[in-house]
């Protein structure tokens, strides 16, 4: 048995890199600093290692050839999922360019809520180390932060040492929208977070009122979404009294129509606070299953976030039209290449068109795909790079065991070479 320390995780989105993992042949155990997200993701037992074509085990080269033939004869290939590391994403973009495919990321409908707001008016954001050292007020909007990132509070709010916050235990936490599911947000001295609950679909109204109050506009309503205007006024005041307020949300949790407008209201409010003389920053949560990685690599390779068609010979970005699920439902793609290298449970959407699945070893299917190629997980079976939620830090993922499984990048490159 070997023990590997300072292991970075590609699973939690926070770039946690203090895990200790013990390795017994191919079995992993997180022995230090695990959490409800990371531990099961690392410890998931190894499954199949052999590619299959029509349920029959075949060597990788043969599976790649069959996949290439399927892609070559398709009118409109669709590359979706795209949950992989930087090199995997590079290979997928190359293949999509080569085959004139449409490329989509499995989390894009959530990410789109942020991207549309960003592309329309921009934002002012911060990163995790700034939160750890500067944040004196955290406003959590519409999100159960601790179920998203179980160690967020331990690592970035209730940390003992901070360069600029004298007593981190005195940090203020406000929840707006959802209530916390546990007690991670409770200060070490037992002080509970200030919680103001409303229904998800009332968030746009609540946030609009909050922004109006921040800007000093008169508000006639006495409440919004069941939250008293006076409580919202108090939040507006505290945001403008803080030394370094941080407003965080998970776009994935904003599951109501036109949530991008609610994100925009939040981001514009943060800008308003800065324009009125106080520092304040946004902190969009994400980074799970390679969503930020897909966005970054697609951004530098094509100029756009990853919902793109290459069918006209150049990248064409459309955040609605090229949605994989609706393309499949409407019969607009005739082959699906699905990639999910972090989570064996993320299987492709139901479809009648032939599928090639490049998936984390251990994936099981209700409907066996034409081609299944099990791959290693970045950060477990091979080294790689993944972006954390704050989009600035690319973590260097380590290889922890010798499973013999190929990487997504190797498999996709083999398919492209067989074309």
């Amino acid at each position: 048995m070997t023990e590997i320390t300072e292991v970075p995780s590609p699973f939690c989105g926070m770039g946690t890199d203090d895990l200790t993992v013990s390795v017994e042949r191919t079995a992993l155990q997180v022995t230090e600093n695990g959490c409800a997200v990371n531990t099961p993701a690392f410890e998931q037992p190894l499954g199949d290692s052999k590619p299959r074509v029509a349920s029959k085990e075949v060597p990788l080269q043969e599976a790649a050839k069959v996949a290439a033939d399927l892609l070559a004869k398709a009118q409109q290939p669709l590359v979706a999922g795209c949950a992989t590391d930087v090199n995997g994403m590079r290979a997928l973009l190359s293949l999509a360019d080569h085959t004139g495919a449409i490329l989509d990321n499995m989390h894009f409908n959530a990410a789109r809520r942020n991207i549309l707001a960003m592309q329309d008016s921009g934002w002012m954001n911060t990163t995790l180390a700034e939160v750890k050292n500067r944040c004196d007020l955290l406003l959590v909007v519409g999100t159960d932060l601790e179920s998203f990132a179980p160690r967020f509070f331990e690592r970035y709010l209730w940390n003992q040492d901070s360069m600029f916050v004298e007593d981190t235990g005195k940090r203020e936490i406000i929840y707006l929208g959802k209530a916390p599911s546990g007690s991670a947000s409770t200060a070490p001295d037992g002080r509970k977070a200030d919680v103001h609950v409303c229904d998800d679909q009332d968030l746009p109204e609540v946030l609009s009122v909050l922004r109006a109050l921040v800007k000093g506009h008169p508000v006639q309503a006495e409440s919004a979404g069941g939250i008293a205007a006076a409580d919202l006024q108090a939040i507006a005041d505290r945001l403008q009294q803080a030394a370094y307020g941080v407003v965080t949300w998970a776009a994935g949790a904003f599951d109501f129509s036109h949530a991008e407008l609610a994100v925009q209201t939040l981001c514009e409010m943060v800008k308003d606070i800065n324009d009125r003389g106080t520092r304040c920053s946004g902190l969009p949560l994400g980074g799970r299953e390679g969503d930020q990685t897909a966005s970054q690599v697609s951004g530098w390779t094509t100029g756009y976030p990853p919902r793109i068609s290459f069918s006209r010979g150049f990248p064409d970005y459309d955040p609605y039209l090229y949605d994989a699920v609706s393309l499949l439902a409407e019969g607009e793609a005739d082959i699906l290449l699905w990639v999910s290298s972090f989570d064996a449970a993320k299987i492709p959407p139901d479809t009648d068109v032939p599928s090639i699945v490049i998936g984390r070893s251990g994936m099981t299917f209700a409907q066996e795909p034409e081609v299944f190629i099990p791959v290693g997980t970045p950060g477990i079976d091979h080294s790689g790079h993944a972006y954390r939620m704050d989009n600035v830090v690319a973590i260097r993922l380590k290889k922890l065991r010798d499973s013999g499984l190929p990487s997504t990048s190797e498999v996709v490159t083999a398919i492209q070479q067989a074309l």
């Binding site: 970075p8 203090d18 008016s121 520092r279 966005s295 530098w300 100029g303 790079h385 600035v392 690319a394």
Partner: protein, 554 residues
Amino acid sequence: MLIKLTGGTVYDPANGVDGKKRDIYIQDGRIVSRPQDVQVDQEYDLRGKVVMAGAIDMHTHIGGGKGNIARILLPEDHRADPVVRTAVTRSGSGHAMPSTLVTGYRYAEMGYTAGFEPAVLPVNARQAHMEMADIPILDKGGYVLLGSGDYLLRMMTAKKDQQAINDYVAWTLHAAKGIAIKVVNAGGISAFKFNQRKLDLDEKNSHYEVTPRQILQTLATAVKELGITHPLHVHGCNLGVPGNVETTLDTMQGIGGLPMHLTHIQFHSYGTEGDFKFSSGGAQIAEAINRHKNITADVGQILFGQTVTASGDNMRQHANHQFANPNKWVCMDIECDAGCGVVPFKYRDQNFVNALQWAIGLEIYLLVDDPWRVFLTTDHPNGAPFTSYPHLIRLLMDRSFRNDMLATIHPEAQKMTTLGSIDREYTLNEIAIMTRAGVAKIIGLQDRGALSPGNWADITVYSDDPDREKMFARPDYVFKDGELVVRDGQVVKVTWGTTHIVKPDWDPGIEKDLQKYFDRYLTMKLGNFKISDDEFTEDGRGSLTVQPTRGGAL
């Protein structure tokens, strides 16, 4: 394989060759002296053509987070300039902030064979290098950004000695794999996090007992003592602020003779005279550069049209967000390390300020006497996209063209510039200095930027054309490491360049304190922060090239 380039008119200022007919031989990727008894395998008849080394851009934002924010922020700009895949090249998108692949193709198609990213945040260095790894053909490298990171400011406040700071600077270069040190608004990015909205040269950060002047002196000393060839690369205080010419002159004076490079100096050359309280400091700045032989500069010329500004200077970018066009912008505070601000701009010739900015940049180019100390940049994409270099070259080389353009800008701006009275026209030799020989010398590239035997064969061949814009936009041939990569202005072969770095010595003892700092305050482990060599080479196409430091081991 021996290639002969026959009879071209060669401009090779590093070797004192100014427009002489020469034959050049290439073997195994390098330029060689005329070999005895070796058959020439391929010959290019270059009689009547102009031959120079491949051009090198010393300051271009081609890799790193803020550039990628700029890309994703402006889908409309990309949509207007789609790039279709060909049998040789991949697809992508262009204009202000092109995709990585297109960046490489377009630079090569203008005869450039190297580009240097001037603002690599240590914590974002992996991204900068990963993006640059996807830029084909060009060699590349990064200047590592220091000066607002909390570790350095803590060291300075604690009055750590210069040796300890030198060790930290060298360690950071090693961890982030850079070739030079850059400062952006010294201490100002940090000050903005403490809600300071401006910071003058002698103004203290509200938390640290440190001024921008002290930071510049400390880092310029470190760079000199570590033997790093490129002088401290400085984006000064008060970018874009009317009256900042005084700050810039004071910055030059205050460095006390230490080597210093002032980048995009056009944005730091503004006076407060005239009806609009905005005037040219171009002549004063040029005169000061002429006088201070320790100073080099690049201009950061603005050219009219849509672009996007992407800078580490979030303090100044935030202050200028009201000018965002289209009206959307991004600012970030980053990891107790630095920050960034991305603000789209549309420079307009009928806008008084923009028009005068254009004239100020040209004044500086034309009034600095020594082409070895001023370099051709638009601070891509901040002043204009790099694809406008041929136009800029024509403005420098063609007085009547320049004056025709001058006659079209905002009339009040025409009155506020001496540009029309400046007769100078750059020569081909001077262009070769400010885009090749001088750049290789100031960055410290040992075997690039000159056509000397032994050098890598990065060579560009142009058809001599009195329309210099046409000439420099479309070279006949470009060779990269001896391979023909561009013919008639089109990429014909895709190759992958190397990444240039320096490795000054440092005391490994410094990691003891750094480790404690990382564990207490940062969000990643020291060991995971440092970029390893295999991250460059594992894809089979990247490589690292270590350039020498003075007096230090390789």
